[in-house]
Symmetry: C2
Subunit: 504 residues, 2 copies
Amino acid sequence: MLEKVDLKQKMSKEDFRKKGEALKAQLTTLDGPIKTAGLPVIILFEGWEGAGKGSIISRLIKNFDPRWFTMVNTLPPTPEEMREPMMWRHWKTIPEAGSMAIYDRSWYQEVSTLRIQQKVDDLTNIRHMNEINNFERGLADNGYVIIKFFLHISKKEQRARMDALKKDKDTKWRVSEADEKTNKEYDTYYNAYEQMLEYTNTVYAPWHVISGMDERACAYEVFDVVADTIQKALKVKKDREEAAKHEASLINPGQYHFLPMPKLAEIKLDKTMSEETYRKQLKKEQKRLAQLHNRIYKEKIPVIIAYEGWDAAGKGGNIKRVSEALDPRGYEVLPIASPSKEEKNRHFLWRFWTRLPKDGHFAIFDRTWYGRVMVERIEGFCTTADWQRAYGEINDFERQLYDWGAIILKFWIHIDSEEQLRRFTDRQNTPAKQWKITDEDWRNREKWPQYEEAVDDMLKYTTTDFAPWHVILGNDKKYARIQTLKIINDTIEERLNSARKRKR
Amino acid sequence: MLEKVDLKQKMSKEDFRKKGEALKAQLTTLDGPIKTAGLPVIILFEGWEGAGKGSIISRLIKNFDPRWFTMVNTLPPTPEEMREPMMWRHWKTIPEAGSMAIYDRSWYQEVSTLRIQQKVDDLTNIRHMNEINNFERGLADNGYVIIKFFLHISKKEQRARMDALKKDKDTKWRVSEADEKTNKEYDTYYNAYEQMLEYTNTVYAPWHVISGMDERACAYEVFDVVADTIQKALKVKKDREEAAKHEASLINPGQYHFLPMPKLAEIKLDKTMSEETYRKQLKKEQKRLAQLHNRIYKEKIPVIIAYEGWDAAGKGGNIKRVSEALDPRGYEVLPIASPSKEEKNRHFLWRFWTRLPKDGHFAIFDRTWYGRVMVERIEGFCTTADWQRAYGEINDFERQLYDWGAIILKFWIHIDSEEQLRRFTDRQNTPAKQWKITDEDWRNREKWPQYEEAVDDMLKYTTTDFAPWHVILGNDKKYARIQTLKIINDTIEERLNSARKRKR
């Protein structure tokens, strides 16, 4: 894509003033419509060192109210960030609906300059680019506009600009050794950029490769693309919302291998356990888990445990039996309530991405990202297309966690409707437990059939070989706790004895 | 305080089971009342390496539902954290109302082990301890319960425990070189601990220094203190809320030197500026600011600019003229809306502490922490005692920023009531501006006299010599912009030419 760029284009000051005037006026008045429409906008700048990203960004943002957009200045990852999946630090930065984030460098750092500096092998690099494409498609599907610029300059021009900076004592600190290297090894970088641009030039997030040789011509083109893309996106958003009302959509859980699962109605809940067996087994399995935690910590494997289940299924007590076996310095229990306003205004996975554990740590989610295909589906908090698309989005998400090296354990704590009624009634009648039961619990109970259908779909479309669901037989809490602990221990042990290594 | 601890206390297994039973039952049922009362609880553990913090914490949290508390494992600060004020990373961790945070090490790391390891001088250390006392008093005043444990063991016992760990290949990695040093230099650490305990043993957050020699005796005492303190706090909270309804309170802005300020009514708003002068001055001052930003960046000075002002006073346009002179990689504009639920559930300064700039960066706040003494005061979003106490809390906050090395600039953009009416009407009548004016703006306008009183109080009680207010004459926007830019530039220049150095 780079060779197609006309590096000779120029624009006179006068021309820029004349032609730019109307464009600037368009840009200045975009904030109202974007806010009103609730459109989230991502504008990112990549390109050669010295191509003028800083100046172009300065020129661009002069058209915007500074209170309305955020600047994201992407640096190489810190040691803490290196302990998380590659996209973790970028997920944290995405803007909310009705606002704009402008990126000076972005996730493309990992598949261009950092790729070369850290000598990332080709296969890993392709996985990284796939993760980026996944990320951008997910954002686009969820209504984000993504505008990507790559500023291109020639080797000679880059050399000249660096020399100019180095001449001035106030600016010479700006030229780092790494920068010098991009000039010396221009061809290597050129190839890496070209590969990156080709591979990530998608329909939902196309690249705009622009010459950075002449600042005015460059700025003009950037203004033009931004104004044009956003105006189109505002229109598309309206059309889409209209279409969503009629559209028949299809479930597409992605190209994964799915394990067969029974329907909830077919599952027998007759297992029980005596108090004595429970005490003994609990002690044994907790001790086993404590020892495994030590090894998990040493080998820096992240463990993600997802709990879902009927209200009053006993998630709390179950989680407690797991967590109390763990070193308190190495785990976190994350109760997931209904999303806050700032969470609702972003991609639905944002609040989970930002809560991932460090490697070597456990994260235990009490309710999870599966809310999208359960409560949000049933209560109509998202569109049909949204929850139907979510199976695939969730599988992609879990695949990234798996590739990062995580052990993913998903538990559906199952009880039957009669057992739930017994427990609700018990809570209602016990003063110390009353605060645990609300009207909403009773309302949800009335929707048992809808939830059953949703859970059946969930088990069907998201039981992958790398992140399978386990149905826990919850009518007897004791049995359920031991079953859960055993699955956790067996899975961790198996993984520790396998050859699979942590990737990033 | 350490010499008073009886290191010989012991408790038999049987005794612990018998006496502990009732205590455990108390602890287990604390979650309901704490949640219902909305009490935020902080429990922190400090003490000698090897004193058994981990084991005691494990025992303690077995009594709690893991979904309801968070564990904070405090490590030494990262390089990123070292670029912020000392308390920044700790502010981020405070729990919200109705929940509990348990700290394995805490802010006391900075004034004990880190103090010794990093050879912090005595004066700085006292400043650090003052910051901690301020922090804890602020939390306590805002309804937090703070329970602090220090686990004490003898030099001999510490040696024996380290040796035991080192014998086992699975645990020997737990004894670091730094740990060894605390044993070798036991006396040095003893003195540092003693000083820390004495200085920070306050009425609102007293220390519980407990022997760690016998695990059961230690656990029993910890359980006892936690159950007792929380039960008392629940009672105190009720009493306080009752008292707050009647109590006459007093404004106490703290022991600072306040500069004299005029009342708003005394300020003349007759200054104007011609378009031509404006253009010239704007260019000149923006250029000056751009150059100063370079030096700010190199000297790693943080700059905090706080904008307050009447609705439609022109804050947005004013901020724009400042921000467009800055390198977009080095500043952030932070619009402050009404607090979210999770923000409301914490100390009112939490959302500002967590948004501080990195050193060398600008943070421009569009509306600020002064909301506490304006909108929250006027709308009754906090109690009278709350906003009256806030002047002192805010001065303490700004003093910490100043001590960290920050330049603090506070602008009140002033217009008169007639000018506001003109601008409101203009917005109402211009289609492209209509989204900027809401019913709330009109409602606020009716409260002009109450706001004027609140602003006069604010200027009187928070114009300190280290963070003074500047009243900007806003009836002519052009004049106001230039006035602001000049104050910013002059202040920065003065600071760059002064001898004051960044502290931490």
